[in-house]
């Protein structure tokens, strides 16, 4: 070994700011063929559903509010958001881009944080789209049948929707980190949302004592009061314990897996 070790001068370089990492992840979320068609499919679906709904309401002289339309739009995006969150993580592994991503930012925790924040940004964008679509449809109704139309968006519902969507997105994110495989993560995600709640439901009916325990360990059940933001008292505690079990645990394990994984 020579006595002189040339060094890199790091003085002028600043660490990559988190905001820039989020910017990169946002771009990566929508710049591939697959993601383009995913977004395009949602847009087409929203147009069809909202158009149909509008037609029915107008033909039958039905009452409607902006919130009604926003509800349907957000329902459609709700199906796809967790999938987008899953793909944010898994595509790095299936397409092997993790090698490049983690070479450019070796602090893997920051990359994961940026991806999670990107998921939240996408969720907020989806809600915003739902609100705009809702208001737009209400505007059409307003012109045709002003007496039967309100611009009430149902803010309580939208607020609850944002929170439950962020939770669903987080779950998709956690399972993606844990499984690192797109189809597996999607399948488990769907199973996760359907199977435990059904099993717990049956158990609660069969055993009376279980009915008292259920809210504390059934995440879907515990999220019930969140949808209209009517959470109170012990329901907060139930959200916390059930959430820690069904969301916290896989998230911690998944993040640990990525932090320690050998990136190939």
């Amino acid at each position: 070994m020579s006595s002189t070790h040339p060094t890199l001068d790091l003085g002028a370089t600043e660490a990559t700011p988190l905001s820039r990492l989020v910017q990169v992840e946002l771009r990566k979320a929508v710049d591939t063929v697959a993601s383009f068609w995913l977004v395009a499919a949602i847009a087409v679906l929203i147009v069809i559903v909202e158009g149909g709904l509008l037609l029915v309401v107008l033909l039958q002289d039905g009452e409607s509010s902006a919130g009604d339309y926003a509800f349907f739009a957000s329902y459609i995006t709700a199906v796809v958001l967790p999938v987008l969150a899953i793909m944010l993580v898994t595509s790095e592994w299936t397409q092997r881009t993790a090698m490049v991503t983690f070479a450019l930012e070796p602090r893997r925790g920051r990359v994961l944080l940026a991806k999670y924040l990107t998921g939240i940004v996408l969720t907020l964008v989806a809600v915003l789209v739902a609100v705009v679509v809702g208001l737009g449809c209400a505007l059409v109704c307003q012109v045709v049948q002003p007496d039967l139309t309100t611009f009430d968006l149902g803010w309580r519902f939208l607020g609850g929707f944002v929170i439950t969507q962020v939770l669903a997105m987080s779950l998709g994110f956690a399972l993606a980190c844990l499984l690192l495989n797109t189809p597996a993560a999607i399948v488990v995600f769907v199973a996760y949302r359907v199977i435990p709640v059904s099993v717990f439901g049956v158990l609660a009916v069969s055993f009376e004592t279980f009915a008292d325990v259920r809210p504390w360990i059934d995440f879907e059940y515990a999220q019930g009061p969140l949808y209209d933001l009517s959470v109170s008292g012990s329901e907060w505690g139930q959200l916390l314990t059930a959430g820690a079990l069904w969301l916290g645990l896989p998230l911690v394990l998944g993040v640990l897996r990525i932090l320690r994984a050998e990136v190939k």
């Binding site: 040339p6 490049v100 983690f102 070479a103 930012e105 990136v263």
Partner: protein, 319 residues
């Protein structure tokens, strides 16, 4: 600039890297040479923090890679040209890199121009790229942040001879400007063409390192009398040259390409001069490095060593 000290990596019972130490200096292109599975890629992955070492430490410019702020501005990395999203265009891949490193978008066009990817090619999706185009794009990506150090795993793989020549020029120029380059290959010819210094690795162990001359010299010293160097010569009287050489105890045969002698060229030249034989051509046989490579890695090659060695001479390359 790159310092690797006592690097070891185990997978269960299997030791992929066994006490690997070496150094790469600025202004030099260092070739990392070894058969497939020798540990080249593992070493490079540990260098950039994608794989954890079982023990030992790897530093770049005195720092652990993971401690570098915005490392793309300091170290250009190309580990696998195919490890990019097939659904992104070449231009998009570079744009993402530039965005991540905080570089102006103009840098993307500069790099595309540097690696000769045309405007049309840059808007094609990666899955439609040939291996050679992927390698060019990967090199463009590694150079984006104008780094002081380049780490390239099998960068010449998939390049045509013109492409390899282009890369040699590119990397030589880069090293001449003070850059440090570590590149790996399992093909001796490639490394010989591109690298100033070589590190030979087999089965996770460093077998030899140094520049070409010192590698051959150390081998000559170590194997003195065993095989020695060999020379080909052409003269106006080849028959007499053979006789003269044999007289001096140098084995020599007359072949279609002239006289092959198992002695240093200086010995052959001296013998010819003393007997007034006019030499037309005299050169040391260039198979030396290849012999060395095969010799050093003989017990680490996948092919059983009972295989006959490839024929020497210009056609004897491993391509």
């Amino acid at each position: 600039m790159i310092t690797v000290e006592h690097l070891t990596r185990r997978y269960g019972d299997f030791t992929a890297l066994d006490d690997v130490s070496f150094e790469c200096r600025p202004g030099r292109v260092t070739g990392f040479l070894g058969p497939n599975g020798a540990g080249k890629t593992t070493t490079m992955r540990i260098l950039v923090g994608l794989t954890a070492a079982s023990s030992g430490i790897a530093r770049i410019g005195g720092h652990r890679y993971g401690d570098l702020p915005n490392p793309g501005r300091h170290v250009g990395v190309l580990l696998d040209a195919g490890a990019q999203h097939g659904g992104r265009t070449g231009r998009e891949i570079l744009t993402l890199g530039a965005l991540s490193m905080g570089l102006p978008r103009t840098r993307v066009d500069e790099m595309l121009h540097l690696v000769s990817l045309s405007g049309e090619e840059s808007t094609r999706r990666l899955r439609h790229y040939s291996l050679g185009m992927k390698q060019r794009l990967g090199i463009a990506h590694a150079l984006l942040g104008d780094p002081r150090v380049l780490i390239l795993d099998e960068p010449a793989n998939g390049l045509d001879p013109a492409g390899i020549r282009w890369m040699r020029g590119l990397l030589k120029g880069y090293a001449d400007r003070g850059g440090t380059v570590l590149l790996s290959s399992h093909l001796l010819n490639e490394v010989e063409l591109i690298a100033d210094e070589m590190i030979l690795i087999g089965r996770g162990r460093i077998l030899a390192q140094g520049d070409k001359q010192s590698l051959l010299a150390s081998r000559a010293a170590g194997a003195a009398g065993r095989s020695g160097s060999s020379t080909t010569a052409t003269s106006l009287d080849d028959d007499r040259l053979v006789a003269v050489l044999r007289e001096r105890g140098i084995a020599a045969v007359r072949g279609p390409g002239g006289v092959s002698a198992s002695g240093a060229s200086v010995e052959v030249g001296r013998a010819a001069a003393e007997h007034g034989i006019v030499l037309i051509d005299l050169r040391a046989v260039e198979g030396g490095l290849e012999d060395l490579f095969l010799e050093l890695t003989a017990d680490t090659q996948r092919e059983a060593s009972s295989y006959p060695p490839p024929p020497a001479g210009p056609q004897g390359g491993s391509r």
